[in-house]
Amino acid sequence: MARRAQPLGAALPLGLAAGALVLALSLGTLGAVAWRAEGGTGLSPADWAAIRFSLLQAVLSAGLSCLLAIPVARALARRRFPGRGLLITLLGAPLILPVIVGVLGLLAVFGRNGMLSAVLDPFGLGPVNIYGLHGVVLAHVFFNLPMATRLILQGWLAIPSERFRLAAALGFGPGDVARRLERPMLREVLPGAFLVTFLICITSFAVVLTLGGGPRATTVELAIYHAFRFEFDLGRAALLSLVQFGLCAAAALLALGAALPTGFSGGLDRPLARWDADSSVLRLQDAAVLSLAAGFLMVPLMLVVVRGLPGLADLPPAVWQAAGRSVAVALASAVLCVGLALPIALAATRLGGARGAALQGTGMLAIAASPLVMGTGLFILLFPVANPVALALPVTALVNAAMSLPFALRALTPAVAEAARSHGRLADSLGLRGLARLRLVTLPRLRRPLGFVLGLAAALSMGDLGVIALFADPDQATLPLQLYALMGAYRMEQAAGAALLLLVLSLGLFWIFDRGGRVNAAL
């Protein structure tokens, strides 16, 4: 057939433009920093140690997160129970949690003065020592288990329910279902989930490293910060940033190469029923898995709530103003993120093949970018033409949108591809194209991931401290910045209150959007 299966339309130029913008934000800013550098030294032995530590902890963290996420996602996929929707939303909480809030919560459980140590104390054990490589990995699993679960769960939900119906009709047991349906799905989904978690962990910055126990727990991102702050060595910062891109790109190539498409054909979106998992042993197993995961993820959060309540009453007005600014930035960032992700996903799907993958890879670049390098690069680029400080909030919204883009693409692209695979030919034969096709065919199938993406981008932006810290005047402080300001002024109780506010706002934003995307959906 000489004619393209699907017309390219306006999505292609829009997608390419969005890709170019991300490219400018990630590599363009790096170029600006390198250009501004005077000389600069090469990598020191300490830098190499940072590279090794980054890789080690990221592989361990991502591997463990994904491994633990499989049973959790499987349990969520094959069980229906009251409060399941709420549980899924709450399980998402750690991912969108501002890192500092999460670490405080983890310490309240696993710290030397935490709950676990208190429980062990009467038995003459403890205190628990969380500080070290294992602490860093524990914190990363806490933050990323929900993300990995969510990505793998989407894979499960993407298996058409007719498949399970057929499996039941053929008398498949759990083992057969795993072999015929679930393992092929995992082969497709796991490399991507591992990649995303790996990329989040490898760029991990200082707060998680609070649990690292010493100078050995230094990541490349932290080394970049040191290069800026301690030596003002822009050349070394740019070089380290380039190393980080290289590590991430290598990981991405490996992961994408390992992914195999499943080739499930389309379904009729019928409600899912799982006859294969109807035994009491499996039910108990799933209940245990879900209880453990919920406990691990929820108890630290509950302690953040308990500790924050006393401080919530007397938060200074500056905190509420900062909260307002943060919500505004988060909403703008969410809209921008979808505005970038949707055209890229559509264009990448229609381009297909290597060119589609290249476009999608460009969209993912931001995750490998150092927010510090990005912020400094933008400062260098903006300073000659405008006052960067006056632009702090719009710049933050844009950078946050770019930072959320990889997650958005991970959630959107498979759904777009699936919509094209299952309904593309029908839409072609009906002559549906352009906006009508987007509205009638594609968007209804994207509702769930779109809601997820909007919520995720808003929440991630809410908790982000990265770029704003470089630009902002305290008059423009966002809530995380204000939280640090309170901590920096001995006001730990108010800071705990601000942390609770941040938690409520992040979760609230995520819940509203995610809920909106799931109206009428069975998830």
Binding site: A206, R229, I380, L470, D473, L481, A485, Y490
Partner: protein
């Protein structure tokens, strides 16, 4: 979000305001916070100067210097306030600063003769502990090394934190060539190394560590602002390293007279009296009213340790290597 818009509209509608000269002071964020010295100092200076004093917060001391280095001579800043003596060598090297030409009677434990930078406050680094949790604190670094391993301290990274850098230089100033051994001895007691002071102090208050690297003046905050007298600083026999915070005038300033007036004002009572209970440091020139009640309960080290700006810049990299290797051993 509405207020700035209204304020901006009001500014546009009142061109008369544009004639008021603006003095721009770059400083660290906590100086400008609602509870910091900034608001009171701004009000006091604007009463006398017939000008608009504009504080611009830019992270912390080191971020302040980076910002200035990025902006170069096109910076809007007239004054930079908030560098310390560990940063002044690099700041001087930028060639952006002008000499102040001011002499004053400083109440510093050491002599001050820097022609470019003027101190506005100072303090001693110290390990702060909770008297209800730790009855007999170590009285020196060697005491701390000899203490049982479960006595934990939390410190900051010298590459990302001012107090962290202070501790690194403290050990170097006290032990010279033996600094690496001291760090190796301290390693089992170091619970963790945080990026900044806030994280460390938070860990300490949460009961994670027995002591935290902070300032001798930290207990004064708890005493005066929270009426809590359980915190104290451990006096170390080796002496305590100092931090001196300074301000300087930029050569490219378009308001040199105002900048000069501000630097003089900085050493007057109106500025200095605000410092102890907002910045929680010692004023560089003790105001006529003396120090606030509660400061008399603080420890006063017998020996003040400090490197000159030049020395600090020279030994920094070697001391950092000792710190890293010692703690990683």
């Amino acid at each position: 979000m509405k207020l700035p818009i209204i304020a901006a509209a009001a500014l546009c509608a009142a061109p008369a305001l544009a004639d008021t000269p603006v003095l721009t002071v770059y400083t660290y964020d906590s100086f400008v916070a609602d509870w910091g010295p900034g608001p009171q100092i701004e009000a006091a200076f604007e009463e006398t100067c017939n000008c608009d004093l504009k504080f611009v917060g830019a992270g912390d001391g080191a971020a302040l210097l980076s910002r200035l280095q990025l902006e170069g001579s096109r910076s809007e800043a007239d004054i930079v306030l908030g560098l310390d003596t560990n940063l002044t060598a690099a700041a001087r090297e930028t060639g952006l600063f002008a000499d102040h030409g001011i002499s004053a009677d400083f109440d510093l434990p050491v002599a001050w003769d820097d022609p470019t930078f003027l101190p506005y406050d100072w303090g001693y680094f110290a390990f702060v502990y909770d008297k209800t949790r730790l009855e007999t604190p170590p009285a020196s670094f060697t005491d701390l090394i000899a203490a049982p391993d479960d006595l934990k301290v939390v410190i900051q990274d010298p590459r990302s934190s001012t107090p962290g850098l202070g501790l690194m230089l403290w050990v170097k100033a006290a032990y010279g060539a033996d600094a690496a051994d001291i760090w190796a001895g301290l390693a089992p007691h170091v619970l963790t190394v945080t990026k900044g002071w806030s994280e460390s102090y938070g860990l300490f208050l949460d009961g994670e560590a027995d002591m935290v690297l902070s300032y001798t003046t930290s207990p004064a905050y708890h005493l005066i602002a929270e009426e809590d007298d359980t915190k104290a600083a451990a006096a170390f026999a080796e002496g305590h390293y100092m931090q001196i915070e300074v301000a300087g005038r930029l050569a490219a300033s378009d308001q040199p007279e105002l900048a000069d007036a501000f630097l003089r004002f900085m050493l007057s009572d109106a500025f200095q009296a605000v410092i102890p209970t907002t910045n929680w440091m010692y004023p560089a020139v003790t105001p006529a009213g003396g120090l606030p009640g509660g400061f008399d309960t603080l420890i006063t080290p017998d020996r003040a340790l400090i490197y000159s700006a030049q020395e600090a810049a020279q030994i920094r990299d070697a001391a950092l290597a000792e710190w890293r290797d010692g703690l990683s051993r």
